[in-house]
């Protein structure tokens, strides 16, 4: 560690704390304060509003499926990337990071183009088979999966590299087949990385706005998620409901943060 003089130390601390305060703590604090400006009424009104309850439910359902799908594919793709050699591996690795750099709105638009029921590439065919992607939960789950895709993989890949192949090979030489090796050796070793990835994906999925807005059509009471509802209510001068719903979203984020904070130290101790 570099020794810093006392004024520099305090200066740096002040900058860091000030930055986080003005950017994060203050705005969120004001939001929470507005939520409770008239006591519990805003929150209890919001919770009694079927639109809010529906939107929160839909958010949870979409996030749940997106996380489960990303978990399965994320772990599979991670193992593929780390343990196997195949042509196009680098390209695949690069493509996985794409959702981090592409704006979610663009993602939503792209999915709309391919799957819409009128002139999409697959849309009409699927619609004929009675599967509606756009303006339904399917499309919303797809869009959410897309934006949260790298989160599990980027957590699991370094851990897989770190644990190396030795333990898996030892298991094989002791008679374990591929599924046994995965369940008994690989999975327990990457357990924390997977949990961390899931928590991040969950937070990202619940907070998703742009892609979901385009794909869902934002139909109140049917395809409106919590984030879309916040925007809608705010623009309709129902600020109290918007604040209350935002507060619920903040609670979820804090819960995720707490889970991560609890997990991380145990991860380091190993």
């Amino acid at each position: 560690m570099v020794e810093l003089s006392t004024p520099t130390k305090w200066g740096l601390r002040l900058v860091a704390i000030g930055y986080v305060f003005f950017l994060v703590v203050w705005p969120l604090g004001v939001l929470v304060q507005r939520t409770f400006a008239s006591g519990m009424t805003a929150l209890s009104d919001a919770l009694a509003d079927p639109q809010v309850v529906g939107a929160v439910n839909l958010t949870l359902v979409v996030a749940f499926y997106a996380v489960v799908i990303n978990l399965v594919f994320g772990v599979t793709i991670s193992i593929l990337l780390v343990r196997y050699e195949f042509p196009g591996k680098r390209l695949l690795s690069a493509l996985i990071d794409l959702p981090l750099s592409v704006s979610p709105v663009v993602v939503g638009l792209a999915i709309l183009l391919v799957y819409n029921g009128r002139d999409g590439l697959f849309g009409p065919t699927l619609e004929a088979a009675d599967v509606q992607i756009i303006f339904s939960s399917f499309g919303m789950i797809m869009a959410t999966c897309f934006v949260a895709l790298p989160l599990v993989i980027r957590e699991v890949v370094p851990t897989l590299h770190e644990i190396g192949e030795d333990q898996e090979q030892a298991a094989r030489s002791l008679g374990a087949n591929a599924p046994q090796t995965f369940l008994r050796i690989t999975l327990p070793s990457i357990k924390w990385a997977v949990v961390y990835g899931v928590v991040l994906s969950l937070a990202r999925s619940i907070g998703e706005f742009g892609a979901v807005k385009i794909v869902s059509g934002n139909i109140t009471g049917r395809t409106q998620t919590a984030t879309l509802l916040v925007e809608g209510k705010y623009q309709n001068f129902q600020q109290d409901t918007a604040y209350a719903t935002s507060f619920l979203l903040i609670l979820v984020s804090i819960a995720c943060l707490v889970v991560v904070a609890v997990l991380r130290p145990s991860d380091h101790k190993k």
Partner: protein, 330 residues
């Protein structure tokens, strides 16, 4: 023969790791695959275990063709240089792994684990995690784990390579005793000739993807097939164009001995109990001779002293470039 390797070739891109290697390893013995790093010995071991596949050639274990069998069906125990312990399992669970995979009864497994931990002196650590063990202890645990499944052959890849010198030596002696107790056909890879000479019943010298020589430690030491084997098993120097061991040269300060080569001492270097003398012959050849400290003092060796050098009777020497090995005076 327990393991028969025939015509095995393995390439990594342009690099030939193994070049048409054929070798047979006898049942119940402790065999060392000895050679310099990158010589292909670990690759050969991994191919025997099924962890790598050969480009061509066959491997058979106990008379059964194993060339295309996956590792879990070969019934070999494999011990890795860096232990490959299952970090999330206790010592006892690590050892029990192979038995649990084989669906042995709980009672059987527990009994066998107990026996094995006894054998590797780790009984009191059964419930610890591997992270709480020292390197030597981890490697003993890995050995117990490999032995648990009663493998037909036990393969060890530089098993002591990651340990410090003292622990290495202890474990080496211990492996020898263990083998005398358990009698499982064992093959271990090492680049340390002392380790191979001390522990193995038989040594296979591998260099640049080829088998240079197979034999007992005595055979290899007394009758090396070529310069490389002789050089790899101990120090060598040249005297009158022949490769000899530095301690197999007699030094005299008078020219009496027939066939002796005259030389002038260039420098005298003392290393512990041993003195290493470098002398230049009249033909301009640098010869290294090792003597005991007492002997060197008795001869009053110092720089610029005139000496006469003769290979001692019975010393092994090899003619330049050739594979002809002549014990001098025999």
């Amino acid at each position: 023969m327990s393991i028969d390797v025939s015509g095995v070739t393995k390439k990594y891109g342009d690099f030939v790791a193994l070049d048409d290697v054929s070798v047979s390893l006898p049942t119940g013995q402790l065999t060392a695959l000895l050679g310099p790093s990158g010589g292909g010995k670990s690759t050969l071991l991994r191919i025997i275990a099924g962890l790598d596949s050969a480009d061509s050639g066959t491997v058979s274990i106990e008379g059964r063709d194993a060339t295309s069998l996956p590792p879990q069906k070969r019934n070999v125990g494999f011990v890795f240089q860096h232990y490959a312990v299952f970090k999330h399992m206790s010592v006892a669970k690590n050892v029990a792994f192979g038995l649990e995979i084989r669906k042995r009864s709980k009672a059987d497994t527990a009994k066998r684990v107990e026996e094995l931990l006894e054998l590797v002196h780790l009984s009191q650590f059964a419930h610890r995690l591997p992270a709480q063990l020292s390197g030597g202890q981890r490697q003993r645990m890995a050995l117990a784990r490999a032995l648990a499944v009663e493998p037909t052959v036990l393969l060890l890849d530089e098993p002591f390579g990651a340990l410090d010198a003292k622990v290495r030596k202890e474990l080496r002696d211990w492996l020898r005793r263990l083998h005398d107790e358990v009698h499982v056909t064992t093959v271990f890879v090492t680049h340390d000739q002392e380790e191979a000479l001390e522990v193995a019943d038989e040594i296979v010298v591998i260099n640049q993807g080829r088998v240079e020589q197979v034999g007992t430690p005595d055979e290899l030491y007394d009758a090396p097939a070529n310069d490389f084997v002789m050089g790899f098993l101990g120090e060598t120097t040249t005297l009158a164009g022949r490769t000899v061991r530095p301690h197999d040269i007699d030094v005299s300060t008078d020219p009496g001995t027939p066939g002796s080569v005259a030389a002038t001492v260039l420098r005298v270097l003392r290393i512990g109990f041993e003195v290493r003398v470098t002398a230049v012959t009249e033909a301009g050849e640098n010869v290294v001779v090792t003597l005991t400290r007492a002997h060197a003092r008795q001869l009053r060796l110092d720089a610029d002293v005139k000496v006469w050098l003769t290979p001692v009777e019975g010393a092994v020497s090899i003619a330049p470039g050739g594979s002809e090995v002549v014990p001098v005076g025999a």
